[in-house]
Symmetry: C2
Subunit: 382 residues, 2 copies
């Protein structure tokens, strides 16, 4: 295990390395954006799964964080994060009992818990669990604004569906109708800015119509929450969303980096890397000690990042424990013991493969280990 | 956490469930095959990462197990597995020091450690580490028999390359030249049996030529080790390999199940499942609580397995925390709280996402929880 002050060479490989300087620049930039846009920022902690990083986000101005699983909420609450929103449906009775207990606990510590709903049965189950635990929760009615996954139909598609859920929530003394969740994950990775803009505009129109349906029925709709790293500035410009859930901006994976950037909102910096080392070298390729068990491949393979800007190496799939490097410049392959920095294709499931971040300060060439950061909610699946 | 005797309904989702009956049938069948073929069986424990399961394999006749990482070897040794072969190159000095210490420890407990090499520098580094630790190890010269990843060129491609490494190993008093590693991972997933047969025949010919080069130079070559679940019966028929490294046979993932079966060697049974539950239901699809963080997708999505044989459901990608079910039979989608059994596309990286197996006995319809099985080497990356 590397210790504070160690040189980068002391990090055993493969390792999940966080460039703290880059991460802090990303942190400050998104916080400043939300502030200047007059929007709440509730970053998604399913990405980093770390109480320490969530606390940094809150210290920089975030109102709290989102999570996707009850177990993630429990892990972050144990680490001192007190304003948590499970931006997902929870319907299993065992999970709801845990969620309600957590809501009560957070409430007693000056915090709060939110959760999403998308069915009448789900609202009834949540209500029963809150009653049993003598707890209260913020509840967002999730509407499906283009992802085709969870969420009730928005008012412009099926008038009355989301409204009925909102009525049901508002009728319970244990639930505060906090507004609507309107997140379109599919819009995040449309490569062209204009394609993202069109998708987000359609999503926002659905959210607006649904909000108007609630208000028209005399219900409150204090907040529309949603948006991600690929589109946050588009939602901000449309004025429907009041809260941004972007998470990946903090680390910026290869896949988000492959999106077309907007000149006014350039890409965040890559701050998360898998450090890997060559453990076999042939005449035309080299093999590093990092494969699918070190980095997720659901959004494609990692990209080799050379902080010195000297070499271009292609990364090829080498299976679970290996990665294959091939020079893209016709030069000889790296040698035994050489190290490379891999930018993961997708941060979230990559982080979930590791027990900790090695936080480094001073860059990837001459930096040093500053601290280890626990991934508290690693494997928090339930 | 489910307890022994609990019904299946007590298992919180998503969960990694092991059908112990099916697993034990697979275990016994491969052990019987190796016995009847007169071959050593050294299953690959990178797949299950569990000391308890490795001990079961040894009790059924395996000579020991393979692992791919030093940290996996350490985790299994701590769990009482004493004959371990790291079927991979280890060249980093820090890892070699740990490996040599483990070799000494295993030796003192009546066990043994093996490791693969594919470079002169690697052999020299290993020798230095063993000398420093006053340890000995079995060493296999890995040859590249078609995978294009690690391994020295075989004798039929580059005469003298593997032989020089074997000479170097044999010259050290700390290394026992244990033979050749000849594993062609790419052959495992060729769908047609005849394609696999041709690839394995070419690999075995390379291994045979290399073995003859060693023997012709007066060196020993006690064993050729390799083969996997897709091809074990093919290597067995060719008479070059003396040891089978197949691992996936124990759980049998969807991807191996998609191979064309050989009539004389039918597929092993699916024994590993991700149990998932519907947490959102639309009019045409349902959403379960299992996504990329519950099952690996490097070999494609899981398949929905219905133990009752009633329904056909297609599984679609729902992202990190969700899976989308769509009826393939035109019927209505599953309802809130319904459960499905997912056969992972690829067992190895799926197992690595979980902390434990829930072992069930009596089938997936009316069975009960028998015991939890630790995944000791989860995340053992270094």
């Amino acid at each position: 295990m590397p210790r504070p002050g160690d040189p980068l060479s002391a990090i055993d490989t493969p390792a999940l390395v966080l460039d703290l300087d880059a991460m802090e620049r990303n942190l400050a930039r998104m916080a400043a954006f939300a502030r200047s846009a007059g929007l709440r920022l509730r970053p998604h902690a399913k990405m980093h799964k770390s109480a320490e990083l969530a606390r940094l986000q809150v210290a920089a101005g975030a109102v709290g964080v989102c999570v996707q699983k009850t177990a993630e909420a429990e892990a972050l609450a144990a680490g001192g994060v007190l304003d948590l929103y499970v931006s997902n449906e929870v319907v299993a009775p065992g999970k709801l009992a845990r969620l309600a207990a957590l809501a009560r606990d957070l409430g007693s510590r000056g915090g709060r818990l939110g959760v999403a709903v998308d069915s009448a049965d789900g609202v009834a189950r949540l209500d029963a669990a809150l009653r049993e635990a003598a707890a209260v929760a913020d509840v967002f009615v999730e509407i499906d604004v283009g992802q085709g996954r969870c969420g009730a139909p928005p008012a412009d598609r099926e008038p009355g569906a989301a409204l009925a859920l909102a009525r049901q929530v508002a009728a319970s003394p244990r639930m505060r109708l906090a507004g609507l969740q309107a997140y379109n994950g599919k819009a995040q990775h449309l490569r062209a800015v204009e394609a993202r803009r069109a998708a987000v505009a359609a999503s926002a129109a659905s959210a607006r119509a649904t909000r108007e349906a609630l208000l028209g029925a005399g219900l409150p709709c204090p907040l529309v929450t949603g948006a991600g790293t690929g589109s946050y500035f588009l939602e901000a410009a449309l004025g429907v969303h009041g809260e941004l859930q972007a998470g990946s901006y903090l680390f910026m994976d290869r896949d988000y980096g492959d999106n077309e950037g907007d000149p006014a909102h350039p890409h965040f910096e890559h701050a998360l890397f898998v450090l890997a080392e060559v453990m076999s070298a042939g005449s035309a390729h080299a093999v590093v000690d990092a494969g699918h068990k070190s980095h997720a491949v659901d959004s494609g393979l990692p990209r080799v990042h050379d902080p010195a800007g000297r070499r271009r190496l292609a990364f090829e799939n080498g299976g679970d424990e290996h990665g294959i490097l091939r020079p893209a410049d016709g030069g000889p392959p790296p040698r035994l013991g050489d190290r490379v920095w891999l930018v993961p294709g997708h941060c979230d499931p990559t982080v979930n493969l590791h027990a900790r971040y090695v936080g480094v300060r001073g860059g990837l060439l001459a930096g040093r280990v500053e601290r280890l950061i626990a991934i508290d909610a690693r494997g928090a699946l339930t």
